[in-house]
Amino acid sequence: MLPFDFDYYKPASLQEALDLYQYLNQQGKKPMFISGGTELITLGRINLIYTEAVIDLKEIAESQVMQFSGEHLVLGSSVTLTKLDEGNLFPLLSKTAREIADHTARIKITLGGNICAQIFYREAVLPFLLSDSQVVTVRPEGTKVVPINEIFQEQLRLSPGEFLVQIVTEKRFTEAPFFTFKRRQQWDTGYPLITIAALKIDNEIRVALSGLCPFPFRSQQVEAALNNKGMSEAERVEHALASLPRPILEDVEGSANYRLFVLRNLLLDVLESLDKA
């Protein structure tokens, strides 16, 4: 149960959703888009989110797409993580998403909801950063298609009233060799410490991380270090560690030094897995 009241709307079309946002925003309702809606409840119940109007996007047909169209994979923002897994059109994404929350929760959590969440893990974005995907959003001025590596800077940079509809990925990335692993502090079910996702394309390794900094990221400097074939594996990893963005998280799940210790080993695992792939 949430300690504040809101109006609930479930638009059937993109235009209806846009119009609702404009109208409700003018009314001062602080409208919020949701899809799976889990974070509205988990953060709302402890007063970390507030809204007077919820616009639920999950019934909009464009946001439910999950298919190949020619040489591209199109995934709608309201596809649930379970459906992504069962469809398995992008194995790296399936495997990364399978580690988010738990199986029952993934029946509710959506792709767009995870990527646009306030929680800092947002692991579902990692495979798209690695595959230079295109993000399709709508806003009052119309539809926008923009590279994810431009619009995702620590978070998806959407303007007020703009929302994510689809993510488009070239097929060749969905078939590339990959490595993904979620390291937890405790056993298989504890909260995540670091999630790493990597793939090899055009003979280069790409790496994206969640849980290391307060935001998911892909770093060209880290990748340049890892792909420097003139050095030993250990040297490449040390150079990669020296190129990380800051700050490194220091919280109850793990100290910054512990995270770096874990990451050093994860990067060695990536090299071992993909160097000769």
Binding site: M1, L2, F4, D5, F6, D7, Y8, G37, T38, I41, T42, G44, R45, V54, D56, T82, R98, A101, D102, H103, T104, A105, I107, K108, D188, T189
Partner: protein, 151 residues
Amino acid sequence: MKPQTIVLHINDEDQNVTVRAADTLLFTLRGKLGLTGAKPGCLNGDCGACTVNIDGWPMKSCLMLAVEAVGKKVTTIEGLKESPIQRAFVENFAFQCGYCTPGFIMNCHSLIEQHPHADDKTIKEWLESNICRCTGYTEIERTIKSVMKEK
């Protein structure tokens, strides 16, 4: 916003219920409809004690608004009538305090319906969504496998 009256299809019956849009399905089931089989635990989607079944899939009713359930087929533990998994829980003594049991049964029931021949990996993946403080996991695993074997 004023409370609104919605129709929920629960356990094969249409139920009119007046809710706030901010009411969770769990709160509505227990507080408005007297269906107290779904248990409040963490209220945060972590423990699985409140698991019900929506259109054939398990769902943590604390993570769903009642208004989101309009038009869906909701099944709670009260809607299972002598199902094989309920009987198997008793026969295998798959509970101690019993608080997590309805949630576990609803999750197991959905798994048996969706994947009647699930392998160990799938069983583990699905059942990780529920926590048993009495640590009855071995008995619960034996229970679900006994039903799958019967099928």
